[in-house]
Structures are given as structure tokens and as C-alpha cells.
Symmetry: C2
Subunit: 307 residues, 2 copies
């Protein structure tokens, strides 16, 4: 096998209560990449479609993670990457993670799978660091492992694969506005009230328990965020209206996807998800802001080979 | 049935990472109580052995919880309580909770079980509030439900019963010193670093996952506390030496039980627990401080009828 085509999924990080540690994987939204062995050593990006991104490997997220793996594997050949970018950078559904993960997943397949998922996560984090100035794995882990993940620690890296209850769907609205990463970081307090922290870790524990017990109602009651959302939601126009519409139409919960501006809703069943999607569309249709709405079942497999 | 004798167990609250929400139930340490129907209305405490506690129902933890239930049930008879107190008040293993739980559990049996466990927890919280000036359930919940519990919220009360992996034992050392509740509260910061809170909720999520997957190593890695222990451990002499001895002898984790001064260690298997108990005894034997050491399997049943 000298060439592989892969689908690298979008992901939702934080999942309301689990800032910086929880995430889940989407199915219908994602990038495609072709990874090809070449006699020429090194990493060469030969094609980028969808968005304007750098072709120099060391300036490209997918290139940086690829270079990290290449340095470790040290094969006597190189790789070409073709990137078909569908996830808009800065949308809050793990665009850079999808890029970072795609190259190393594909290369690992072409190398005969010498690396496990945790090692792939580690390589991908090098690419993610280029985009976000720090190594984190809350989008990378669900893209690689699929389903719900909990990043227990980053150094050393430890990812827990959580169970995914059946018939769980996500609705994503991506308002086409730009939130600068620096702004979405700066708005977060360095210190938080102990009482809020207790509420948050009670909800994280409850959410993990809900996933293990297929308890959708408990999942719903756990999807709250008293720490980050009160600050970051200010940067997202009509956030409260979207949440109200989602919950009124049967969503289990609704929160900011990653650092935004995308908003996710979790729903039991596709029909509820479609209803929630329509209600959210109705909210944003009344505004001047362009937007996209997606419905996706939770993707329990993660990144996959297409061809 | 007009009379019942019950065993009301000691409990460990917080469990390192889960301040204010997690707890587990002990087996060999606990109070005994006799609860008896009487023609005389009201709650009458007729006997207290072990420690010097008030006989007036409204000033006694077991009496206050009993009165709360009595007011709700409104039977045309009353109850007598005999309290055989084995758990020293202020030891940090849920002494007041055992009292608060014992009376309402016994009365519920004699009334024909009109109340479920969550309702019992609610009544017991009224008694606990007498001892600790606020209603909390992190010791009451494990005493009533058994095993590991997570108090998702207090108002409305929601207790999650978590699974308990097999062969899990606790070692408790109770240094016979007094820590004033006011002092152990005052030492806690009102604000904590967001980064520490993230570490803590990552560990709470991991601990819940570990309990569901019988992963003792993950349980071990989750039993850390970067928020409360650094402050409260200063009030407990030789805390670090105890922890070092426990971990070096195979304990999965070691932390402050409730607000202290007791220290708990969790161990896989009785033989490890016995070894850890001996190592901890060796630490405190070199000091002038009197102490007790107990070994108990995790009690998955909670409070129980003896006769």
C-alpha cells in the first residue's frame, strides 16, 4: 500500500462541564486527506483545497505532526500530503486537530501501524501546538479514539475512552464569525470560586457515570458549565437564544463547542436532533450572521480510511 | 416489629479528588443503635454510651434527623433511641452522619419503609446540619447507599450510586488529636486556580471511570488532591510520612478522610491492606500521639439491621 485516503473528523471539546479534558467525535463533518509514500524523503504538501493554508510542512499543522512522526520513525522514504479541508479553521470543532491527526493516522497505516492511538495522539499534539501555542489533546483524542474521551493528563499523556450511549446525536451550529483565540483565552479567569469548581467536578463525575449507565437524563443534568460558559458565551451572538431553542425542542444539553463560536447540542435520537437543528436555524435565520448547521451521530470509530 | 437494632457505618468523604461530592462506606467501624416504637409521642433518647452527647432530641444529631422524619410521617406513636457510639465525634470518618442516618433508617424500618434512600438522606441531612452548620450529604450518602457515592447536587438532592470494584479495602488511621471544624474550613481558599480545578475534575472523571471498569491502576492515579489536601494536611501531624508509608507498601492511594484528622488509604486486597496498616502504625508509634488504626473492606450494603 503506497497511498491512502482518510476521513479526519471534526470534534467537540469541553462538552460543557469538562473544560480541557472531555471531548467527543463527529461523523458527517470532517476533512479528507490523501497520504502517499514517496521516494523523496521528508514531508511534502502537494495540494490544499478548501482553505488557504501554508504548503511549507513546518508551518502547516498537518505537516508539523507528520514531521514529528517522521523524525521518530525515520523511514528511508518520505510522504506527500493532499489536504481537502472542509472544517473551517477557527470554527471551534477541532479544525486544526483534524489536520494534525489526519497526516499521522495515514502515515501510520502506510508504515504498517507501528504506533498505537496514544502515540498518534502525542504526534498530533505537536501539530496542534502550532495552531494553539500549547500542546493539548481534547480535540485530538476524540478524533483518534472516537466516541467520548477524557484526557486524564497531558504529560504523561493518558487518554480514557469512555462509552458512548446509543442513538446520541449532535447538532452543531457554526456562526460564521471570527473569535480570536487570544480573546477567548483572555476572557477566562485564572482563579475560580471553589464552590463553582465543586459543581463542575460533580458534573464531570456524573457525566462519566451517565455514559457508563446509558442514563440520558443524568447526561442531560450533567451538561452544565458554571466556569467557562458564563465568560465565553458573551463572545457568541445569540448563544442564549440558541440554547433556549435547543432545550425547548428536546436537546439533552447545549453548550459552546471548544472555544467557540460553534455551539453544540446533544440529542437522543435523530428525529429530536433534526427538530433541534430546525429550531436553531430559525434563531439564526432572523440575524444577519451567516451560519451552517450540521447534524451528526456520535462517531464511535474516530478517524477512518476511505480508500 | 416494635424494636430494631442497627449498625450505622463510618464513612470516608471526599476521597482525595472529590471534595464535597465523593464518599465511600466502611464496614467494621460504626455505631449501633436500638430504635423502639413507644406509645409516647415524640423522640426520646433513653441511652447514650461511648461518648458524652446531649439527650435532648433537638440538640442531638440522631434526634434532629429523627424529628424531621417524625414531622413528615406524623404517626400516632413515638420512638425511643438508644445510641451506642463507637465513632468518636470529630474523627473525620462521618461520626455525626452515622448518628443522623441510624435513627431515620431504623424508624423507616419500623414504619414499614415508606421512604426511599434519597428521602432518608434528606432527613439525615437535617441532623448533619446540627453538627456541621450546613446541610451536606457526602458522608450520609455512602452510609445509606453503601459503596462509593457521588452527591451530584444537594438541592435538589441527587445521589449517584457508583460501582465498587472487588477486594477493595480501606485502612484508616485516626490520630487522636482535635481539629476544630472552623479551623479546617477557614484554611480552605475561597478561590482556586482554574488549572488546579481542571486537574481535579479530570481526576474525578477518571475515578468514576476506574470504578466502572475495575481499573485499580487508574483508580490509583486518580486518587490525588491538588486543591484541599495541600491546605488541610498541614493540620495533620505526620501526614506525609503516613502517605509515604502507605504508598510504599502498595496502597492505591492515601488522603485525608473528610476534614481529618483521620487519614484513609485504599488498597487492593486484604493482605496489602494489613501490610499498609502495619506500616502506618510504625509511623505513628514513633510519635507521642495516641492513634487507632482500622482495616475495613468497602461496605457495599451501607447501614444494616443487626437484630
Amino acid at each position: 500500500m503506497n497511498e491512502i485516503k482518510i476521513f479526519s473528523p471534526a470534534t467537540v471539546a469541553n462538552v460543557s462541564c469538562g473544560f480541557d479534558v472531555l471531548g467527543f467525535c463527529l461523523d458527517t463533518i470532517g476533512d479528507e486527506m490523501i497520504i502517499r509514500k514517496t521516494n523523496k524523503k521528508g514531508i511534502h504538501i502537494t495540494k490544499i483545497e478548501g482553505y488557504d493554508l501554508p504548503f511549507e510542512a513546518e508551518k502547516n499543522v498537518a505537516g508539523v505532526s507528520a514531521l514529528a512522526m517522521l523524525e521518530d520513525a525515520n523511514p528511508d522514504f518520505g510522504f506527500e500530503l493532499e489536504i481537502y479541508k472542509n472544517i473551517k479553521p477557527g470554527s471551534g470543532v477541532g479544525s486544526s486537530s483534524a489536520s494534525a491527526v489526519g497526516s499521522v493516522f495515514g502515515m501510520n497505516e502506510l508504515l504498517g501501524k507501528p504506533y498505537n492511538k496514544t502515540q498518534l495522539t502525542n504526534f498530533a499534539m505537536k501539530g496542534e501546538a502550532l495552531a494553539s501555542q500549547c500542546e493539548h489533546a481534547d480535540n485530538i483524542a476524540p478524533a483518534i479514539f472516537g466516541g467520548f474521551t477524557l484526557v486524564k493528563s497531558v504529560a504523561p499523556l493518558e487518554v480514557l475512552q469512555l462509552p458512548t450511549p446509543k442513538d446520541l446525536f449532535a447538532v452543531i451550529i457554526h456562526p460564521q464569525i471570527e473569535i480570536k483565540t487570544s480573546e477567548s483565552r483572555a476572557i477566562l479567569p485564572k482563579q475560580i470560586a471553589l464552590q463553582d469548581a465543586i459543581t463542575q467536578w460533580s458534573n464531570v463525575g456524573s457525566l462519566v457515570h451517565a455514559l457508563h449507565t446509558n442514563d440520558y437524563e443524568l447526561l442531560s443534568r450533567s451538561l452544565t458549565d458554571v466556569v467557562v460558559e458564563p465568560h465565553r458565551s458573551q463572545l457568541i451572538p445569540h448563544f442564549k437564544d440558541v440554547r433556549k431553542a435547543a432545550l425547548e425542542n428536546g436537546a439533552l444539553g447545549c453548550g459552546i463547542s471548544g472555544s467557540g463560536p460553534s455551539i453544540f447540542s446533544l440529542c437522543y435520537g435523530n428525529s429530536t436532533a433534526q427538530k433541534v437543528a430546525q429550531a436553531i436555524k430559525n434563531v439564526y435565520s432572523k440575524t444577519e450572521i451567516p451560519f451552517e448547521v450540521y447534524v451528526s451521530e456520535i462517531n464511535t470509530k474516530g478517524i477512518k480510511i476511505i480508500e
